[in-house]
């Protein structure tokens, strides 16, 4: 093959073999590519990232400079996003005999109809190398036959990889040199991004693509050009200073989950509820705020924590309070061509604050990995006398945008953190919002949750018992 031909094409590794991506296929999903190229062990169960049957493993960066295996839904990943990456499927993990996770699943009877099995195997493969043995490793995989018990048993029975495990070596191999391609651009700096937007004003930004991927998977929309934000250095930065935490908008949630755990309990809690592992390995903070869903679970948390957004376009940067960012149903202050660079969460408390309580809650049909009926996050700063210095109450699923109960917040300032205040807060909360009824929950139920979740928060963080 000619050098010039090769260099103009995107490449990736599939089970350690080099594959060239046809220019016309860039917005096809990885799942489509796999199934068209004989890797039919990877299954389509839903095409929406909800079932995990299409789970593959991609070698990724853990944010600490190490490579590791990550389980991802191949149905949501456009082929253009795979460029330069190393992908493993169920066909590629049995080296000499079965892989240990396959052995374990055979032993416990973890496969009945078998359709979900390759997806489970790949989630467990990633977990095997990260040492994870809890249900969370397979929370994004649905099984309808086994009742999950033998799968759980298989996961828990796994031992550590032996030092000679060939997949430990594979992690040490350098990734493919990354290339550029017409139609699916992979800029590495913000400056490059804005050069591209000048020449391709129609291009869509794509980061994890877990929302956009739905449209690609279901072919509900055609796209011309994509600018991938996955490699943009400025979007990957984390600045953890004494005054604030700044999180790059392009950092996958699973990295926030592990790297920033413990800094903000409200954030930890909501990320736990947010989607499934495979999605969190792709989805980014910027994407969640960018799509501006009225329910988007992270927005209430960041509102409660008084976060700001750093936005940028070709003309420069600006910082705006998140509280002003949402302007209407799926509408924001983002201008065309502008993107979210980072989210800034202040850490400093007012001088007279002695305690900060913050937490988040989500109620859905199922709880985790679910569209919320109501999501809520609260942050209450108290002085030494247990009076409220500042309270922020933020909700998702109760209005056209994620929203704060501003009037109540004003009322609460200076009030004692006690049952009487709670009672008045609940009374006001019952009238603060006018949520809609839908099949997930009635307006009445939502209104009650708005108040009850705050009550739950109160009892969780006060001396008074329920």
């Amino acid at each position: 093959m000619l050098d010039c031909y090769m260099s103009s094409q995107l490449r990736f590794l599939l089970n350690q073999e080099e594959h060239f991506i046809d220019q016309t296929n860039l917005t096809n999903t990885l799942l489509e590519y796999l199934r068209e190229h004989g890797s039919v062990g990877t299954k389509e169960g839903c095409g929406d990232g909800d079932c995990g049957a299409c789970t593959v493993v991609i070698v990724g960066n853990d944010g600490k400079g190490n490579t590791h295996y990550q389980a991802m839904n191949s149905c949501l990943i456009p082929l253009g996003s795979v460029a330069g990456k190393s992908v493993l499927t169920v066909e590629g993990i049995a080296k000499e005999g079965l892989h240990p996770v396959q052995e374990a699943m055979i032993k416990t009877g973890g496969s009945q109809c078998g359709y979900c099995t390759p997806g489970f195997i790949m989630s467990m493969f990633a977990a095997y190398y990260s040492g994870e043995k809890t249900d969370l490793a397979v929370e994004g995989n649905l099984c309808r036959c086994t009742g999950y018990l033998p799968i759980r048993e298989a996961l828990q029975s796994l031992s550590e990889p032996s030092p000679a495990d060939p997949f430990l070596d594979l992690l040490k191999q350098p990734l493919l040199k990354q290339q550029e391609s017409e139609g699916f651009y992979h800029p590495e700096t913000l400056a490059e991004v804005f050069d591209l937007t000048k020449n391709h004003p129609e291009a869509h930004f794509i980061a994890g693509g877990t929302d956009l991927g739905l449209e690609l998977s279901n072919k509900t929309r055609t796209f011309t050009d994509f600018i991938s934000l996955e490699r943009v250095a400025e979007l990957k930065l984390i600045r953890n200073d004494s005054d604030a935490l700044e999180i790059g908008a392009g950092i996958p949630l699973s990295q926030i989950e592990t790297k920033l755990h413990g800094l903000f309990p409200a954030l930890d809690e909501m990320i736990h509820w947010f989607a499934a592992r495979q999605i969190r390995n792709r989805a980014t903070l910027g994407g969640n705020l960018g799509t501006a869903s009225p329910i988007g679970d992270l927005a209430p948390v960041l509102l409660a924590l008084d976060a700001s957004l750093k936005l940028a376009d070709a003309s420069g940067e600006r910082v705006i309070p998140l509280a002003t960012y949402f302007t209407g149903y799926r509408q924001t202050l983002l201008k065309p061509g502008e993107l979210i660079v980072s989210v800034i969460i202040p850490k400093t408390l007012s001088e007279n604050v002695s305690t900060r309580h913050s937490f988040s809650y989500k109620v859905g049909k199922r709880g985790t990995d679910d569209i919320s009926i109501v999501a809520a996050a609260f942050c209450v700063d108290l002085d030494e006398q247990q009076n409220i210095v500042k309270a922020r109450l933020a909700y998702g699923g109760v209005a056209a945008t994620p929203i704060r109960a501003l009037e109540l917040e004003t009322y609460l300032t200076g009030k004692p953190w006690n049952l009487e205040t709670l009672k008045e807060a609940k009374r006001q909360l019952a009238e603060t919002f006018t949520p809609l009824s839908d099949f997930r929950g009635s307006a009445n139920y939502r209104n009650k949750l708005i108040a009850n979740l705050f009550e739950k928060f109160f009892f969780q963080f006060s001396e008074v018992s329920a």
Binding site: G45, S111, Q112, D135, R144, R152, K219
Partner: protein, 767 residues
């Protein structure tokens, strides 16, 4: 994971080497390695791709269909409407008949146009460009709307016909009522009556009367419906590769619709990615008709959103239940009014729902009425134990409440009234061997029941139930090859490891390791007739045929060995894959060697092959008692299942590992039905739960520890004492959870699923 197998005294358990011992599934290796082949993996030369254009409205006249833009898409081969198909003159009377809509659409998701193209992408692009103009008609999105006075009638020219599938699920004695009067949306009424109900309520010391509403629920198999259909030039018929529970059923359906000889339609069931009652040939008639019309092979794999809209979920069910009892612990009367939403076609399980509702207890008087209405939704169908889990939710909730009202112990109250062997079912027929009481007794002695520990907001509840289990005639062949391999051919499809039990049957009889036995799932041309894999009947029905086939070939083996060893047949034994004179290992001849002799020697008797048939006359019901511990969050109504004990009379577990898998799987599906899953339509007949995000299934993190206890109480007629095991474990879960919630927060939840808004509402309205 705790689990146990308990043999009841008097159990006549056979002395076995392989049967009754846990053994992993035979095709586990290929499934684990991603090498099992499902229908989406099938490719045949010249394969085209079919995409259906589904109705976007629930009830409308089709004014026009414009294909012109779609036809311009490169790669499009054909765009077909009902008028273009060979079935154009056929009147639509059932879901199977409704290949493509003619003149009218009756539900959101009904196929209207079939687009065929060289690639899936081209078919998909073209399908989006087909422009259908509808003139909308009034929509009956619920039974209330369909039964209202002056409601628009969906089938003014005659009600749809049933599809006889009920026969493969459970045997119900039909008591047809002849409909008279003008046609409305009222489809069918079934009644069960016994004794004097009014007198029964009059003498009751307490009565509970509750209305239960159970949502439509979707089977949620991981692999959507799909098939590949290849026209057969030689016979003028078709070959169908599909994902089905019933390959013979699909063959008959397709052949009848296309007016082909049934023998000219060959159906090959691929590895099936779950069915749970749904996969009985919903979309094969469409793909087959298209392939037959254009005489080209086509592939149709439903996308998940399509599958949710166009297949056959369980019906929305309302049960008004009135139950009376006396202080002495006797039940006096049962009255139940069941209203079922059949969807746009015939629902097959209405009568069964009524029968099951009135059979688990000995009611001196009962009056059960089941009314089915036609609405503008997809056809409602079977979901694992159809009718049983819904009726159990109503009955076991009411029994619990009545016991509480009468101040009686819930276990003793049930023990006194539960049906046993020979007690009458709702239709008067006697129950075959039935052990609900034994399951309950076992549960009541369980330490988690006797020493209950509950924290604030926690509750423990239980429920019992039974599933009659179907049965069907079936056949099998068993041959021995020259290399010693035993090949068993059946015509049943393996959707849950059935084949892995059947090999043990042959291995046991022939004294050979199960590793040397291959189970071949023959297509409808090769495999002997077998029933569909539903109704918990395959193992029960087919294992007898496999046993008979193995016995048949065994006789031939023994005769040949006797001849070779110059001994009497009675003196030959089969051991470790060889035949020998009893107690004389040195005389052993490998069965492979015997097969070679049989095949090659001029004077030999011919290849070693046996055949077997089975036609069991009596059902073997499976019974369960499920106990569950939940935690209820009073602020949000959220329910978490903390612990679960599932006790089941399995008769005789041919392969206990697989039976345990059935119990675990059934329990978790029951949890999903109980607290998560609802297939919801809005008032326009639009499906609200059209994805796995909106149709919430249980996941690993939602599953508690489940202790599965298998009671071995052999059935009198089943092979080796086996009973049906697939459906019983799903019947009692939702009811047990409802009773546990009652215990936790003191309120009765009457809606299923018991999602947070529902539970919260019950807490706030009742307490």
């Amino acid at each position: 994971m705790a689990s146990a197998s308990i043999d009841k005294p008097n159990a006549d358990k056979p002395d076995t080497k392989y049967l009754g011992k846990p053994r992993k599934i035979i095709d586990g290796l290929e499934k684990i390695a991603g090498r099992a082949r499902y229908v989406a993996d099938v490719v045949v030369p010249g394969l085209l791709h079919l995409r259906p254009v589904l109705s976007t409205v629930a009830h409308a006249k089709i004014v026009s269909i414009d294909k012109s833009e779609a036809e311009k898409v490169p790669g499009v081969v054909a765009i077909l409407t009902a008028a273009d198909l060979v079935t154009r003159d056929r009147t639509i009377t059932s879901r199977s008949d409704a290949i493509l809509a003619k003149g009218k659409v009756l539900f959101v998701g009904q196929p209207v146009v079939a687009v065929v193209a060289e690639t899936e992408a081209a078919a998909e692009d073209a399908a989006e460009l087909v422009a259908i103009e509808y003139e909308e008609l009034p929509v009956n999105s619920s039974v209330e709307a369909a039964s209202a006075e002056g409601a628009h009638v969906t089938w003014p020219e005659g009600l749809p016909k049933g599809e006889l599938e009920v026969i493969s699920h459970a045997e119900v004695e039909e008591k047809e009522e002849v409909e008279t009067g003008p046609i409305t949306n009222h489809y069918k009424t079934s009644n069960f009556n016994r004794g004097d109900v009014d007198a029964g309520f009059a003498e009751a010391d307490a009565i509970v009367e509750t209305t239960f509403n159970i949502a439509s629920q979707y089977q949620g198999y991981m692999e959507t419906h799909g098939c590949v259909v290849e026209p057969d030039a030689l016979k003028g018929g078709l070959t169908i590769y599909t994902t089905t529970q019933a390959q013979f059923g699909v063959r008959n359906k397709v052949a009848d619709i296309l007016k082909l000889k049934r023998s000219n339609v060959k159906v090959t069931a691929m590895t099936v990615g779950g069915g749970f009652g749904s996969k009985y040939g919903t979309i094969e008639p469409l793909a087959a008709t298209v392939a037959y019309t254009i005489n080209r092979p086509v592939k149709l794999i439903l996308q998940r959103g399509e599958d949710l809209k166009t297949t056959t979920p369980a019906p929305p069910t309302q049960i008004k239940l009135k139950l009376g009892g006396k202080k002495d612990g006797s039940i006096t009367a049962l009255k139940a009014d069941i209203v079922l939403d059949a969807g746009a076609f015939a629902f097959e399980f209405g009568q069964l729902t009524g029968l099951l509702l009135g059979s688990n207890y000995k009611y001196p008087a009962l009056d059960i009425e089941v009314i089915e209405y036609i609405t503008n939704k997809t056809e409602m169908g079977a979901y694992r134990a159809p009718g049983a889990y819904q009726s159990t939710f109503a009955v076991e909730s009411s029994i619990d409440d009545l016991a509480r009202k009468l101040n009686l112990d819930p276990v003793e109250f049930r023990m006194k009234n539960l049906s046993g062997t020979d007690d009458p079912m709702a239709n008067g027929s006697p129950w075959p061997s039935l052990n609900i009481k034994e399951c309950l007794k076992q549960m009541s002695e369980h330490p988690k029941w006797k020493n209950q520990s509950k924290e604030e907001g926690e509750g423990i509840g239980f429920a019992v139930s039974a599933w009659p289990c179907a049965l069907s005639p079936s056949a099998s062949t068993c041959r021995i090859d020259g290399d010693g391999t035993v090949k068993v051919v059946v015509g049943s499809t393996d959707i849950s490891g059935v084949s892995s039990s059947l090999v043990l049957v042959a291995a046991e009889i022939l004294g050979i390791s199960p590793n040397e036995v291959e189970l071949i799932q023959g297509n409808t041309d090769v495999g002997p007739y077998a029933p569909g894999s539903g109704g918990s009947q395959v193992t029960y029905s087919v294992s007898g045929a496999v046993a008979a086939a193995a016995e048949d070939v065994k006789i031939k083996l023994l005769e040949l060995a006797a001849d070779q060893l110059e001994a009497r047949v009675e003196d030959i034994e089969l051991l470790n894959g060889a035949a020998q004179v009893k107690g004389v290992p040195s005389s052993a001849i490998k069965i492979g060697k015997l097969a070679q002799i049989a095949e090659s020697s001029r004077s030999a008797p011919g290849p070693l092959i046996g055949e077997g048939r089975s036609s069991i006359k009596q059902n073997a019901p499976g019974s369960v008692a499920h106990m569950v511990k939940v935690k209820v969050d009073k602020d949000t109504g959220h329910v978490k299942v903390l612990d679960y004990v599932a006790i089941q009379d399995v008769g005789y577990a041919l392969n206990p590992m697989l039976v345990e898998g059935q119990i675990h799987g059934g329990v978790v599906q029951g949890i999903g039905m109980g607290i998560f899953e609802a297939h919801v339509y809005d008032s326009f007949g639009q499906l609200q739960s059209a994805s796995f995000m909106d149709y919430a299934l249980p996941r690993t993190v939602d599953v508690p520890n489940i202790e599965a206890i298998q009671l071995n109480m052999p059935s009198p007629e089943g092979p080796f004492g086996a009973r049906g095991v697939g459906e019983p474990p799903i019947t009692a879960g939702a009811a047990a959870i409802g009773n546990a919630i009652r215990d936790a927060v003191g309120v009765r939840v009457t809606e299923m699923p018991m999602r947070p808004p529902v539970v919260w509402k019950a807490i706030n309205e009742q307490s």
